[in-house]
Amino acid sequence: MTWMRAGLLQGSERRSLLPFLLGLLFFCSLPCVPTAQAEDTQGQAADRVQASLAAASPPSAAPPSPVTDLEIRDKPLDAGKVLLVSFGRSSDDPGGQGAVTRYALLRRGPADTAFAVVKTLTALVKGDRLSYEDTGLKPGAGYSYLVRTLTASGVFSDGPVFGPVAPARQWFFTNKINTLITTILFVILILAYIRAARRGRSLFIRRIAGLDAIDEAVGRCTEMGKPTLYIPGISTISDVATIASLNILGQVAKKIATYQSRILVPNRDPFVYPVTQDVVKFAFAEAGYPQDFREDDVYFVTNDQFAYAAAVCGTMVREKPGANLLLGMFFAESLILAETGSSIGAIQIAGTDAISQLPFFVTACDYTIIGEELYAASAYIGREPTLLGSLKGQDYFKLCVLILIIIGVALMTSGVLLRNQPFDWVSQILKVRAAGG
């Protein structure tokens, strides 16, 4: 637990319980996460309705016409816990404006001796048919239903029993078969090229100017005696761009450690922060200069987007780094960071997969690494065969996609020219339809 707490909080040897307790107190005030108590609550609600139905005064007026067209069917493509219930209105119900005010759906399961209410539906809804998804059922168990039509005075009538109907569990989303095939093809390509790379096959990667410029930037900082500012994006550790950025950070930190220079890494996400601290610390150790690692240089700022941007701008203006490396996921603060960096005369290398921020980086930075070039960084810098292989596999899959696009566009265009759209089925191949139908 000691290493976990130290690692989670600050990655340092000091343990301070007060901030953790304060955070825990804050957490306790947050709304609780919803838990799966639907069935219990449903049962309690059903009991309340049952009690109110039982307490209704004995019928003194003519009962309303019952519902006769109850339909129950299994919900397609699910885990076998849901039945779809639908029924038309009672003939005495003109859209909720008459005597009929509610419909109660009663269910009897395999272990039940009598029908019990599972849901009460108001008659004041639009449409001729009312529907409900009965959830929390057992796959394969038979359930029978009937609909009770109720008036405001408590007079009711029961419709005929429908069932038993058993919900069935499905084992494959048939509407996703196209996704499965493309996924399998993708995985096969990646793994095949990784295997080829491990066997010693030489794989070519084109030059990426932004990644080559990192060396130049770090060298410039060392000559000027200024630190390098590295911003690993503002997203969480689960973001692929952040993972790619951490790869580059390790390499950059090692280079900086070798040159005995300084690196500043302000973090926005509290989960990313201990990881970046570990990466930089290890890089310095690996370079042979563990004593040069400064804990205060890798720090957590705040998890508010613009407060983070303001703090980093302040760091840029005060510390005047020789190079700014903005690599990761960025949002609206990207231009603020890039322009401030430009105003202090730092060499700037930016890389992101956020398409909307690329124009700002291209305008304000010296080098921009666009989209997937960021993901290629780990393979490009390290030149490890496994990573190179996966990059090639990804590129060849892209080639397959390109060929499919060209064929598809040609077929669809010719379909338009032929006017009778004979190739419309082409556009349906890659569609993922909703599970309901």
Binding site: P34, S356, G436
Partner: protein, 280 residues
């Protein structure tokens, strides 16, 4: 210093001068109600309007998701207000949530929705309800596809889900005619990618101007059925529902600023070419 030399020095114009001109360009139109702005309602906004307008009054609610933080409020709150005016004036019920992970979107929603509802005499929990926020947008979107109550067991004010009359007939997306997501990030397209394709939910997106271009592929493919893009989108919707507000007011400043930027770019390029000429 000659005129030519002065023009050439424009290339190195101090950014503070540019900032000063920008300040004037943004603020003066608010006080002068100038320049005049005439905008046309675009196809994307008209599609969004039609989808919302077709929702029957006093029936299934429009799901309105405040997925933005205060930084984007200047662009997206006018959209929210225009849509709320539209809904409340026609009796269309509104179910409000927020998937902005720090809860600031919920803070905005809790201020905007009651204010607009009060102007139309609409009652909480009957004509509108605010279920609160969930920090993880993706999980909340997928959970609501199965069960709203599981995702929001109480509303923002602590009322149990079962005790809110508006959601009596609402179980999951099957009872939601459409969702309008107001977002400044990829949450907007996540609605189309996940609930849109998995549950067939109709998605309308209100996004910041910089994000409008990112959303366009989804609109063109039909995954998103309507788009309100930036302050212009808000102004178009205000025009469509005939309730002019901050969207239209902001367009005046936007016009002045656009032309000012074009002027500065032109000056910079003139200076550049003159400096090249004088260097030769």
């Amino acid at each position: 210093m000659g005129f030519l030399e002065w023009i050439v020095r424009l290339q190195r114009l101090d950014r503070r001068i540019i900032f000063s001109f920008m300040f004037v360009a943004v603020t003066v139109p608010f006080y002068l109600n100038w320049p005049p702005v005439e905008i046309e309602v675009s196809r994307e906004v008209e599609d969004a309007y039609q989808i919302i307008d077709r929702i029957p009054p006093h029936g299934d609610p429009l799901l309105l998701s405040f997925d933005y933080d205060p930084a984007a409020a200047a662009e997206l709150t006018p959209m929210a207000e225009a849509v709320l005016h539209h809904c409340f004036s026609k009796g269309i019920r509104v179910l409000v949530i927020s998937l902005q992970y720090t809860g600031q979107g919920a803070g905005i929603a809790s201020e905007v929705v009651p204010r607009i509802a009060a102007q139309h005499g609409r009652k909480q929990d009957v004509d509108w309800a605010f279920l609160g926020f969930q920090p993880n947008a993706l999980i909340a979107m997928l959970q609501m596809g199965e069960d709203f109550k599981r995702t929001f067991p109480t509303d923002y004010y602590g009322t149990p889900f079962d005790e809110i009359p508006l959601v009596e007939s609402v179980q999951n997306y099957a009872q939601i005619p459409a969702v309008l997501t107001l977002a400044a990030t990829a949450v907007g397209e996540s609605w189309a990618i996940y609930p849109g394709s998995r549950y067939g939910l109709t998605v309308i997106a209100g996004v910041t101007a910089v994000y409008t271009a990112d959303i366009q592929p989804f609109y063109q493919s039909g995954q998103i059925k309507g788009v309100l893009g930036g302050l212009k989108g808000a102004a178009e919707y205000e025009k469509r529902v005939n309730v002019l507000g901050k969207g239209m007011a902001g367009m005046r400043s936007q016009k002045t600023v656009h032309y000012m930027i074009i002027l500065f770019i032109a000056l910079g390029n003139i200076a550049y070419w003159l400096s090249r000429g004088s260097a030769k």
